[in-house]
Symmetry: C2
Subunit: 239 residues, 2 copies
Amino acid sequence: MKNPDYRNQYSKEYEQVIRQVPLFSGLSPLDLERVSRLVIRRKFRKGQLIISEGQELEGFYIVISGQVKVYKLSSDGKQQILHLVAPGGTFAEVAAFTKGFSPANASAITDSEVFFLFKNDLIKLIRDNPQISLNMLASMAQYLRHLVAVIEELALKDVPARLAKYLMDLAAGQGERSVIEIKLVITKKELAARLGTISETLSRTLNKLKSKKVIKVAGNRITILNKARFEEIAAGAKI
Amino acid sequence: MKNPDYRNQYSKEYEQVIRQVPLFSGLSPLDLERVSRLVIRRKFRKGQLIISEGQELEGFYIVISGQVKVYKLSSDGKQQILHLVAPGGTFAEVAAFTKGFSPANASAITDSEVFFLFKNDLIKLIRDNPQISLNMLASMAQYLRHLVAVIEELALKDVPARLAKYLMDLAAGQGERSVIEIKLVITKKELAARLGTISETLSRTLNKLKSKKVIKVAGNRITILNKARFEEIAAGAKI
DNA sequence: TTCTATTCTTGACTTAAGTCAAGGTGGATT
DNA sequence: AATCCACCTTGACTTAAGTCAAGAATAGAA
């Protein structure tokens, strides 16, 4: 991996991918090439651990394909997912800018491909190119917003509201129809962990919504039948 | 406030203050002066609202004196404090790097003095001086760590553990003694809101710890009598 | 296809924490 | 010193969500 020739061999292909990553948007072709020569490609199989909490990190990751979860574990094994990272997204940025250890675990939910960028290389990039630092700041600010939303959900909303909000966010990409079908790309157990609950409670909540004809559930496909009502529930209305 | 002469009048004094702010550490005297000419001083009285959720912001704040809380409110009025900002700390950084609205409220817990920096000025500073962007990234990464810790507490710890962890963090500045006295600078109602609970539950929890001789409570002064036990509780042990 | 192993669901029960209501305490203000 | 008001505490009760255990459904592997 440390052989520069090996990296160069792939740089053209990498450049095409890196061009798509929001973090590197607005960069000149020259800078894109520079970045693409610095990243290292790594592959992880479904379920494989990428980062474990407390580990010291030398850089951060960009997801190229697949799906990665960033999560905490409690002393008795309960899992809280902080972030589901899709292609184009980054994780472990925190490690790149503060000394110290990773605050969370990360693992591949599906077979995944990631790019790794060393923090020293990133810092050099930033020193030479303020645009990258502004992108990075915007990306971190976006992630901050996300974490604030997670805190709001955990502290101020009940499970039905969290579920409804999560599904509404997923549905947001699908336009303005009133009946919306959503396909979960994670297991219900993982969805429960993302919502700060357990699978039994999620199951019961889905059931309650189903019996009120607000949604329809068939395996991993959930159909929102009554969007208006669903929005009320996301905002805190009782089922 | 927009009269440059007015700003200049204070710049020497401001410079002394800004030198102390971690965000601006490592800057040259020239840059420190430049920053000090850009900030605007604002004062807020105890309880006064500084930012309200949804508001559009033109920049971010640095606390100079006093104490500021950043918090969310639920539809039925419950409050969750995200961040207590002490002098030298910043808030609303998110607004400086993403378009859109403030994700939370901020208000002064005590009479407070803050500096305000316009985002356009900050972006100019960053373009000219990568050190500021690295400081800013480090500051945001630090805040991310904090929010991750808050999520961990809310999702994976019970109220006694959250309380113990909070107090241990406060005590961290006080060296290695086994009996530590802590003076709360916020009300117990606010402490409850920070811990994601309500004052009744906090009251009962303090009582339980008191009756087990782990702590002593006298008004806003809490004494940790059994640090070892307290650490176990913070890590999840039952009281 | 059959077998196996997760994942998911359901029921009965427990529990931590919230709600509601009443009373106590202490600091600020006149 | 008396009054006020917000803060805090305590008790009785409710409730949302977790635990435990058993069975059903589903997806992967052989």
